[in-house]
Every structure is written in C-alpha cells, then in structure tokens.
C-alpha cells in the first residue's frame, strides 16, 4: 500500500472510476500547500491540472493559477526532453544502433486522453546489451558523463540494468540494457522487445517504442520492484493502460509467463488497484487478486521489496545465468567492484575492505537462508 490520503488517491485516479473522493469544499491554505507539494513531488501536477480543468476539484482562482504555473513549467520541461529524445534517437539511428524509447513519453502519447496529463523528468532508452558500450562511448563523446563508473569491465553489457548518463545541460539519460535489475531482468526476452517495437510519433517524427503489452510490463517492473514505495505516477500508468487503452491481456499473461514475471505483474496491479481505490475491474485485475506466487518468486520479490538487498538480488539472478563463467563474473562484479566505482560512492578510506567484508557477510547470510 502507498498510504495515499483520499484526496491524493482522487487526484491520482482523476478520470478513472474510483472510490476516492475529492473534497467538497475549497482546500484551505495548509491543505493546499501540502497537496500541491505532493503533486509536484510525485509528478502528478498534470493530473491535478486535469482535475481542476475538468471541474471536479473546486479551487480558488489563485490556487488554479498556481497549478497552471507549475503545470506549464512541467510541460516546458517535457517538451525540452522530447526535443533531446528526438536528437538522441537520430544519433543512434545514424550509427545503426537499435533502440526503443521507454516510460514517460511513450505512455504520455499513447495511453492518456491528453499527453499533458503525464509529466516526466528524464529520458529512458533501451539498447541491446552488445551495443551498450558503444552507445555509452557515443554519448560520452557528445559530452555526457556518467556519475558512477562501470562496476567491473563488461558488467554493463552483460548483467547491468542501465547506465545513467548526464548531459552537459543536466538532463539525465538512462540507457537500459534490460527492464529491471537482478533475476527478473535477466529473464526478459530482450530481443523480442526490439522485434515487437512500434513507432511513436513525436513532433512529426517516428521513434521506436515498446508494444503496449511490453509497455505495461515495464510499468509493472517499476511499480513492483523499483522503489520501496512505488511511484504513484507509475501506479496510475498501470491503471490507465488496463482501463483505458488498447491492450491484449492474453498476450500480457503470455509474456509474463515467458519472462517468469507473473508475480511481478500480479503485485503491481494489486498495488495500483489498492492505491487508487479503483472500482472497475479487468480480466487481469481479477487474475492478480487471486494469483499466488511460488516460494521462489516470493523470495525473489522480497529481495527487491522487504529486504532490498543487492546481494540477495544477485543470488536470485544467478539462477538465470546459464554459464558457470558468467555466474563467476556476476558474483565477482558485485563482491569485488572496481576501485573507481567505490571511489565515487564516498570518501571512506576503508571503503574497499568494508565493501568486500559486507559483500561476503551478506553472501554467506543469503546462502545460509536458502
């Protein structure tokens, strides 16, 4: 549960059938400051603007002006990101690097009645593992820098989830090899993502994006495994995709089964329905309510949620790595990272020894639990 207040759930579910109710009266100054702060933090200012523009949320003229101001700022940022995205996609295309756009712009333009409802803050691109190093080098040549070096040589293209790069203008570009870290990321059918890609039209140009069913699963990975408390925006995306967009639910289930992600799918949909207090159901929401994950899946989920341990995630991932030398490489990367990687994480002079000891202790604990 995300523990949303009723008014927060009502705004986050604006336009969807929900039990959450907006206040009858105009919010007082204190409540309003909290609400607008929360909406900005959760990137839900577009939903708040929608609730005001469509009428259900009554506010003062000053309150409406404040939302309009923040919404305009957010949209100006989104447009700037879209221009950068088009430039990046063109750059990758010119180098024959396959890529698909993930997250923000794809859901904004395809599943919401108006893309201005959906704010986002960075750019996410998926490239094949074999092209990760080349793409990072290309973007670094364009002035991007990575805040953290690679944990071990070859880790990014073999096991990594993504590489974060910061452009000279401060815009963050997340270059993904897969959709989620650890065990669940290693079982995604990555090649099929590129084969099933669809065109997304932005500013009269077409860039590749995931097919709708894969897009839903990306949102589910983020909601179920990403943050300790899922982003409300992601939960809304899931509900929006299931309730108000073209989606082949049978194909979603087939993909989830093939990727070993049924537990992720079920957890994400349950979280979404509970947080937004949704009243409508779909075949998938009913399925998620009754789905019971295996013990192995429960352990894997716990390594992302309750225990959130990188080591436990690595151990869980080892099952998905077929070759012995790759298993060794994965463990080595996590337990014995590059010194440069640790240097960027803090000034502790004993950091390398401490990292090693912590990794070994954690590994021993995790193994003894299995």
């Amino acid at each position: 549960m995300t523990g949303l207040l009723d008014v927060q759930a009502a705004i986050a579910s604006s336009g969807l059938p929900s039990l959450a109710a907006l206040p009858d009266a105009i919010p007082d100054a204190g409540d309003w400051a909290d609400l607008i702060g929360w909406a900005r933090e959760e990137r839900l200012i577009g939903m708040l603007a929608h609730a005001i523009a469509e009428g259900p949320l009554e506010v003062t003229l000053e309150q409406a002006k404040a939302v309009a101001h923040h919404h305009t700022e957010a949209m100006a940022w989104v447009l700037t990101l879209e221009r950068i995205l088009l430039g990046l996609a063109g750059r990758l295309e010119a180098q024959s690097i396959p890529h698909v756009v993930l997250k923000g712009p794809t859901v904004a333009h395809t599943v919401y009645p108006d893309p201005s409802m959906r704010c986002y803050g960075d750019i996410d691109l998926l490239v094949p593992g074999r092209d990760v190093d080349r793409t990072v080098a290309l973007l670094e040549a364009d002035g991007c820098r990575r805040p953290y070096p690679e944990i071990r040589p070859g880790f990014d293209r073999r096991f990594g989830k993504s590489v974060t790069l910061i452009r000279p203008d401060g815009v963050e570009v997340d270059l993904h090899r897969t959709l989620v870290a650890g065990r669940f990321g290693l079982s995604v059918g990555l090649d099929s993502l590129f084969r099933a890609a669809r065109p997304l039209e932005i500013g009269g140009r077409r860039v590749p994006m995931l097919a709708p069913e894969e897009r839903l699963l990306v949102a589910c990975y983020n909601a179920a495994l990403g943050d300790a408390v899922p982003r409300v925006m992601t939960l809304r995306d899931i509900a929006q995709m299931l309730l108000q967009s073209e989606l082949d639910e049978g194909r979603v289930l087939s993909l989830a089964e093939a990727w070993g992600a049924q537990a992720v799918l079920a957890r994400a949909i349950r979280l979404s329905w509970a947080a937004l207090r949704l009243t409508s159901t779909t075949g998938l929401s009913e399925w998620s309510a009754t789905y019971r994950p295996s013990r192995a899946d429960q352990r894997a989920l716990a390594s992302y949620t309750t225990s959130r341990s990188a080591t436990a995630q690595t151990l869980s991932a080892l099952r998905m790595v077929p070759r012995v030398q790759d298993k060794v490489a994965l463990i080595t990367a996590v337990v014995v990272p590059n010194r440069g990687y640790l240097d960027r994480r803090g000034p502790d002079p004993k950091r390398y020894v401490n990292w090693w000891r912590r990794g070994i202790r954690s590994l021993a604990r995790a193994v003894s639990r299995r």
């Binding site: 309009a68 949209m75 447009l79 700037t80 009269g204």
Partner: protein, 99 residues
C-alpha cells in the same frame, strides 16, 4: 499588417500547425517549442483557441468566422487581433501557410 490593422491580403491563405512543433495543452493555454528556438513559450486566451482550431488546416476566413462566433465579436475585430499572431507563428516556424 498596416497601421490601420491587417490587410486581408497579408493574412490570406490556409493555415496549419507544422508537425514538427512540440506542444502541450495547459490550463490556461498551450506551451509551444518551435523548431528553431531554444525555449518553450506559452500562448493563452484566444491565441490558444486559435491553436486548437488549427488541428486541421483552415482558411483565414474560416478561422475568423469560428472565433467570431465563439466570442460573439465582429469578424473584423477578430481578424485584426489574430492577424499578427498568425503572421508571427508562421514566421517563427509554428504554422504552415498555403496561399
């Protein structure tokens, strides 16, 4: 546009949004990012309504008639008010004009 207002010749033609323009609706208008410009800007009020009308190509006469009807204003007044915006948006690459 002359000092007496827009000449009909100056704003004649059919207008359409250029597809490469990036834009979003906001509560009180529309945010635009034009191809050759660095910064987004906002148009509000009747300018935003005009942008909404141009979701399909429209002649000046059609645009003026629609706005005059919507606002209950003399078409000559509408023409005088929107002509500079049409010209400016076209000059900055936001609109395509076909004569």
């Amino acid at each position: 546009v002359t000092s007496d207002g827009p000449s009909k010749v100056a704003v004649a033609g059919t207008w359409a949004r250029r597809p490469e323009v990036l834009w979003r609706w906001v509560i009180d208008g529309v945010v635009l990012l034009l191809t050759d410009e660095d910064n987004p800007f906002v148009i509000t009020g009747s300018g935003a309504v005009l942008w909404g009308l141009l979701d399909q190509p429209r002649s000046t006469t059609d645009v003026v008639a629609q706005l005059a009807d919507l606002y209950g204003v003399d078409p000559a007044v509408v023409l005088r008010d929107i002509a500079p915006l049409l010209e400016e948006l076209a000059a900055r690459g936001g609109l395509e004009r076909t004569l």
